[in-house]
């Protein structure tokens, strides 16, 4: 897997490089700001970019804007955004339009190195990795309240776990229920939201989240 890292803290940039290299991935570029990120990604076409939200010059939302740009111009490049805080507004911007190969995680999640590397790999493969907090914020702020309020707590839980990019089997394992039960929850969610079920896990979750964020 070919990875580009955009992170202005040298400490974290080196740490991420070491971690991903140790797991057998190739760091093809490591940059410190959003402008270089877009340039390098356009030139090298990596499988995935790991992007910090706050970067020079203004240290606000450069990473999100660069990620949105890349998702429009380089659809085959996966983008995993790391942030100190997860914000529903940023998630909505990220999920708008193209719905594959996207991730948005709290920076803390890199501490669980196994899961983090799995998330990077998933996004590189066109999957998703959304922080559970993103989902709870999207549900909390959705303009489609009457719909959201129809979801049971269990269904919300299932939705959150799927948004992290888990398969039905993995969701079933996490909740200690059967695969069939998960499938039933999923079809209930789609039914309540009035969305047509589709066959790919990440696509249907993103459809739900994009719908909630709109």
């Amino acid at each position: 897997m070919r990875v580009v890292i955009a992170e202005d803290s040298v400490l974290l940039r080196d740490g991420l490089s070491r971690l991903l290299t140790a797991r057998g991935h190739e760091i093809v570029g490591a940059v410190g700001d959003a402008e270089q990120l877009v340039a390098v990604a356009t030139e090298l076409r990596p499988d995935v970019c790991v992007v910090d939200v706050r970067m020079p010059p203004t240290h606000t939302d450069e990473g999100i804007r660069a990620a949105v740009t890349m998702r429009a111009t380089l659809p085959e490049v996966g983008v995993l955004v790391l942030s100190q805080y997860v914000e529903e507004q940023y998630a909505t911007e990220l999920l708008a339009g193209n719905t594959s190969g996207v991730g948005y995680l709290l920076k803390d999640r890199v501490a669980d190195v196994g899961e983090f590397v799995a998330a990077v790999e998933r996004v590189a493969g066109g999957g998703t990795a959304l922080d559970p907090e993103v989902v709870s914020q999207l549900l909390g702020r959705s303009r489609k309240r009457d719909v959201v309020e129809k979801l049971t707590p269990r269904e919300r839980e299932v939705l959150g776990l799927m948004a992290e990019g888990r398969t039905n089997a993995a969701v079933a394992q996490a909740l200690v229920v059967s695969d069939g039960a998960v499938e039933k929850h999923v079809s209930n969610i789609f039914g309540k939201l009035g969305l047509a079920p589709s066959d790919t896990d990440h696509r249907r979750v993103l459809a739900v989240l994009a719908y909630l964020g709109s």
Binding site: Q84, E88, Q89, L139
Partner: protein, 446 residues
């Protein structure tokens, strides 16, 4: 006419403090007060000439240059600043000669930057008042100089007339001429001569001698009023305005300090902790593979600790000033605090445009604290955050269906919150009867 009385009299029966009385009319010409007042009134003329020239020349130059080059505006601002310096000298003169001790006005509140400096200079009322003082000082100085010198000179020359009258004889005149064309021209001339007229002249001189001190005192009192009114501290309304400006600056500074602290935390401690957590995570996985159980347990618990520390630090930094508030405004920033609340929260924000940064910051802080209270104390099942605007002000309502009983007095966080809201001229109203529901309304200026 009253008898002369001492400047200071004691109340004989008691040992009370000395009672100051007016100097008797007969002593008046010989008191120090009269003479310091006189010196002050005479000095008014040279001071008036210098001050008036300064003010008129530079203000006129400033106004004249403004349409052509904007350099006129800083020139006027500088002139007003100079007027303040003149005012300082004039207060010192009044203090030394008039015994009128006027407090110095508040120093100029400078706004940051060049344009801010010019703006604060141009709107400096103290400077304008001092400038007005300088304008008035010339006509007033001419008047006081003439009246004072003529009064004293006339009274002294009239009293000493019997001594000076013989000098007129050398010019073939019986005395000072009142009317006519002089001894060398034909016609009838009238002179101050003869015992009757000379006595009358002396008497008039004496009357004038004792009247002049009162005239001097009257004019000096006008000077006192001018110094107090034009060079003294601002009126109460202006003081309030100045305080509002300086408090606004303090609030702005506090808000930008908070943003800076949050940034420093993000770039420093948080980044290091994330790197540490990542290293510990890698160590943990490697140890699990090598089956060294004791060490693995220690590393694993260190790993958990550092993750907890990260979370606490994140919550702390978030409470200080979230970056998303700066980037995307209140609506976006409220999402995450609503999501973290333990009860479901409905958030509705309707604002025509973004409020000023300090107001936004206070509103966010209020919502954050109030929702924390809901999580901790309210025993609620639902909460609502509503933000809107009315008549140029914004409101933030945080309501819940919990147990109620919240009050600002109980040493609760509400008291601190009220202070914070009042710091920006807002109000916080608590409606929380025992048994609920609770509704807290915050009004903030836009």
């Amino acid at each position: 006419m009253s008898m002369p009385s001492p400047v200071t009299a004691y109340d004989g029966s008691t040992g009370d403090a000395p009672v100051r009385t007016r100097p008797g009319i007969l002593r008046a010409p010989f008191t120090v007060r009269t003479w310091t007042d006189t010196i002050h009134l005479v000095l008014n003329l040279p001071v008036g000439i210098v001050g008036f020239t300064y003010a008129v020349v530079f203000i006129a130059l400033g106004i004249g240059l403004t349409p052509l080059f904007l350099i006129g505006l800083p020139l006027i601002a500088l002139t007003l600043l100079g007027s303040r310096a003149f005012g300082r000298m004039e207060r010192a003169r009044a203090s030394a000669l008039l015994d009128e001790h006027v407090r110095a006005p508040a120093p100029l509140q400078r706004r940051p930057g060049w344009t801010g400096w010019i703006r604060s200079g141009l709107t400096d009322r103290t400077g304008w008042r001092a400038c007005l003082y300088l304008f008035l000082q010339l006509p007033w100085g001419v008047f006081t100089f003439v009246v004072t010198t003529v009064s004293w000179a006339a009274s002294l020359s009239a009293i000493t007339y019997p001594l000076t009258q013989p000098l007129y004889r050398r010019a073939d005149m019986p005395g000072a001429m009142i009317s006519g064309d002089g001894p060398n021209e034909p016609g009838v001339d009238h002179y101050l001569a003869g015992p009757g007229l000379v006595s009358l002249t002396v008497a008039a001189g004496v009357v004038l001698l004792f009247a002049t001190p009162w005239l001097v005192r009257g004019m000096a009192n006008v000077d006192r009023v001018m110094v107090r009114g034009l060079l003294g501290p601002a009126f109460l309304s202006e003081q309030v305005r100045d305080l509002t400006v300086s408090r606004g600056a303090a609030v702005d500074t506090a808000a930008s300090d908070l943003r800076r602290i949050e940034r420093d935390l993000h770039d420093g401690a948080q980044a290091r902790l994330v790197a540490l957590a990542m290293d510990l995570g890698m160590a943990k996985e490697n140890l699990n593979a090598s089956q060294d159980t004791e060490t693995a347990r220690m590393v694993s618990s260190a790993h958990d600790e550092v993750k907890l520390a990260l979370q606490e630090l994140r919550d702390l930094a978030r409470g200080i000033h979230p970056a998303v508030l700066t980037d995307r405004g209140l609506d976006a920033a409220l999402s995450s605090i609503a999501a973290r609340c333990t009860v479901p929260v409905r958030v509705e924000v309707d604002l025509p445009e973004r409020p000023p940064a300090p107001i936004e910051s206070v509103a966010y802080f209020c919502a954050s604290e109030l929702l924390t209270n809901v999580s901790k104390h309210a025993r609620a099942t639902h909460a609502w955050v509503t933000v809107g605007h009315e008549n140029g002000r914004m409101y933030l309502i945080v309501a819940d269906d919990g147990a109620g009983g919240a009050a600002t007095g109980k040493g609760s966080g509400l008291a601190g919150l009220t202070e914070r809201v009042r710091g920006v001229d807002g109000t916080l109203n608590v409606d929380s009867p025992e048994g609920g529901p609770t509704r807290i309304t915050v009004w903030l200026p836009l």
